[in-house]
Point group: C3
Chain length 218, copies 3
Amino acid sequence: MFHDLFPPGIQHALDLAGIFVFATAGALLAVRKNFDVFGIVVLALVTALGGGLFRDLVIGAVPPAAFGELSFFVTPLVAAGIVYFLHPEVQRINRAINVFDAAGLGLFCVTGTTKAYEYGLGLTASAALGVATAVGGGVLRDVLVNEVPSLLRDREMYAVPALVGATMVAVFISMHSLNAITTGLAIVTTFVLRLLAMRYHWRAPLAWNRRSSVAEEP
Amino acid sequence: MFHDLFPPGIQHALDLAGIFVFATAGALLAVRKNFDVFGIVVLALVTALGGGLFRDLVIGAVPPAAFGELSFFVTPLVAAGIVYFLHPEVQRINRAINVFDAAGLGLFCVTGTTKAYEYGLGLTASAALGVATAVGGGVLRDVLVNEVPSLLRDREMYAVPALVGATMVAVFISMHSLNAITTGLAIVTTFVLRLLAMRYHWRAPLAWNRRSSVAEEP
Amino acid sequence: MFHDLFPPGIQHALDLAGIFVFATAGALLAVRKNFDVFGIVVLALVTALGGGLFRDLVIGAVPPAAFGELSFFVTPLVAAGIVYFLHPEVQRINRAINVFDAAGLGLFCVTGTTKAYEYGLGLTASAALGVATAVGGGVLRDVLVNEVPSLLRDREMYAVPALVGATMVAVFISMHSLNAITTGLAIVTTFVLRLLAMRYHWRAPLAWNRRSSVAEEP
């Protein structure tokens, strides 16, 4: 129904890679929370597919890719199975997981923005939905384990790289220059910014004139 | 628009029965939490209709049955009204409630899988959405009362019977043998498995090599 | 696609006013929780647009107004920016915020009911969805900051004025007498009822024969 902005085979591979790393992160959190095998599977599915499902509901893509693409559904199951048996090893490579998660962030914000635009949203709305695609699964995961989403609380600049990547895609679209190279550039920029934010502990500012010491919470 | 897999009258009666028992369970939790009369109504509605609403949003059934069928909306109000006045009596029959809840689980996973397939989803996706229909209302309810969904935490094998029932429906559909008898068989199997899980305290396994004592949480 | 029940210009202005006051309330909560600048923006967006987004997903309005109307998206950003710099001043006028919030409640329940009816829902369902539009953003906001929604817990009669306003709209529609005057009457009634509920500390009843002292929770 829409003109694809880049080759479907590449988009599919990028999506699967992003789904796999997000699912792994979700399954690891479930193990840390001591959830049972079913909880591990649910948290892997929600983390990996929640953001894309939200995007597809908003743009009216029926059925959403999470339910229409069998590979999207099976990939988190595979990730959950690997974590189920190998979780001590997977946790030991926690730094590697963070790198993969940064890659997933780059992939999802770019493909999310592109798909939203293909379904007729404006450029600003597409970029916003791209960011929501990238961070949505993690927010849902945190809500389910009954924590304030780390996105809101941690001052970790998690969303800022996604915002930059999604904005780059929107600018490239408006300049009629979105192609494999510029797409890759947006993904890599998001990925590198996220790695730098982790490496140098960049912190987002609190409200103007607000110090941590005046927080209401313990 | 679609070929119904079993008579609409029967499906409607099954749906209403499931809605009623789930609404009762939701309203009772609201009373235990000391919510006011409006909180009781909201929790009854969310528990009873949340799973089906999620299913209908995913498959693009507009308007969702929760808003399109007046009887679906009124039934939780009736359940909330009964609980409002008779909650000590209803709590005393807590075991009966559990039996009804098990029946609701069976009804919802079967009708959810069937409806998803009628709207064009694949068999695996239909079964997954059937399970989500059956457990979704309870998950939403637990999120609203600010608890980790018992589905994830309790190791109670709540989802496994639904998974079996939904899979049976998918297999029957693929064998072109879904009818009143096989539908009933799937419902009864789910129902009995859930009762057995409660009676014998079946527990889902934690992650491989993981013991409760190493949990991070208190 | 539908016959508008009142002039689009007026509806748009009413929507923007409601969005602005709800966004301000959400941003202030984020400041109190010591969230960073991104958390302030997210909470402003969710509080202001969550209820309408839910309504649009249910009625199948694609894309939802939150993503289709640039002004709906920009308004919460402006509110978040104002709160970011001026939050001490804004908190000092907390009473004014409550008045604006009451106005937002009236605006959203009326426009939500009207839009739901325009998209083909029945009168009861339209009124229910109007109430959900008005209270939905606040519920989502409370879930994200990991609190039981004040709607369920506070006995504050927050939903009752919305219920009255939405019902008035449904009655006016059924009498073919919804116009600018009756619409304004429903908004003002909701607004005044909410102010009275705050002023005189009206409390919704607990379950019959249930006293606070028997609550299970601390």
